[in-house]
Symmetry: C2
Subunit: 148 residues, 2 copies
DNA sequence: GCCCCATTCCGGAAAATTTGCGGCCGGGCA
DNA sequence: TGCCCGGCCGCAAATTTTCCGGAATGGGGC
């Protein structure tokens, strides 16, 4: 994990389709050397995947919501996590410090869909309390992974 | 933007290195047809980019922080947005509903680095008030784009 | 019904890229 | 000095992408 590896990681973060020759030219290595490093970066888990960043509006998911969740005292936290990990509309879910236990980010087709999501959370018996905020506009956004 | 396009988008979200032949086999099209559709998806902006998802810990950024920001009344909001867009440590920034104006997500090398970020925000004169929460653990996370 | 146009598909050839070697070089070490 | 090992290079084979022309498909207009 030297500077060249970091530069390769940054280049591929920007354009995962860059050819080995292009990368090699940028970092001063042959295609073979770049290929070796790339293989090692993937093996070591430095590169977790190559992913297409999909425009959420283009697939009918224009709404971004943030849901603060306080888990119910009796809730099965493992099951909650498993459920969040499985839902394709959940784009992020973190256990956080502060008054809430989880911060869940979702992408949805409409405000109705956001409401449906909250209903599911409640009827699942997981949450004691929640608060939802919507994104009005987005300045910076990580790549969106469309999971169908 | 039919079902096949959506399936291609989903497949490439999962693995941007899948060959046209593999995708073709999955959706029942020839490589040429898949190539046509891929080109159009990119042209139309449905696919915004192909990106390598980097493990943040592997590049020395183990800390995830969420900063809720209330902008100072006199703050230049455009400049604030431009600054957020430019900072490589800012992984997300949304204008949101609720008591705060912005939600800023960052990746940092340490708690000290988080503090430094907050100091910069304050000394920039942008924020009236802020609250920071840290991620204790992560259940779901979008791809991380390493920007150097 | 018929023509025309646009769109999307296909197969195949050419170009580009990736992959899989063997060999070379330089640093660490006994 | 001599050996070993990691990392690099160039080259050739295999794979993939790109770039055509031409064939189906599905409306619109007459």
């Amino acid at each position: 994990m030297d500077d060249i590896d970091r530069k390769i990681a940054a280049l591929l973060s920007d354009d995962a389709r860059a050819s080995l020759a292009q990368i090699g030219a940028a970092v001063g290595l042959s295609t073979s050397a770049v290929n070796d490093r790339l293989r090692r970066l993937i093996e070591r888990g430095v590169i977790r995947r190559m992913s297409a960043d999909i425009a959420p509006e283009a697939v009918g998911l224009p709404v971004t919501g943030f849901v603060w969740v306080a888990l119910a005292p009796a809730a099965d936290e493992g099951a909650f996590r498993a459920a969040m990990a499985q839902l394709p509309r959940v784009t992020a879910c973190h256990h956080v410090t502060g008054p809430w236990s989880y911060l869940v980010q979702i992408r949805a087709a409409s405000l109705d869909a956001v409401e449906d999501f909250l209903s599911e959370l409640k009827s699942g018996g997981w949450i004691a309390r929640s608060e939802t905020m919507l994104a009005l506009s987005t300045v910076v956004e990580p790549p969106f992974r469309y999971r169908g």
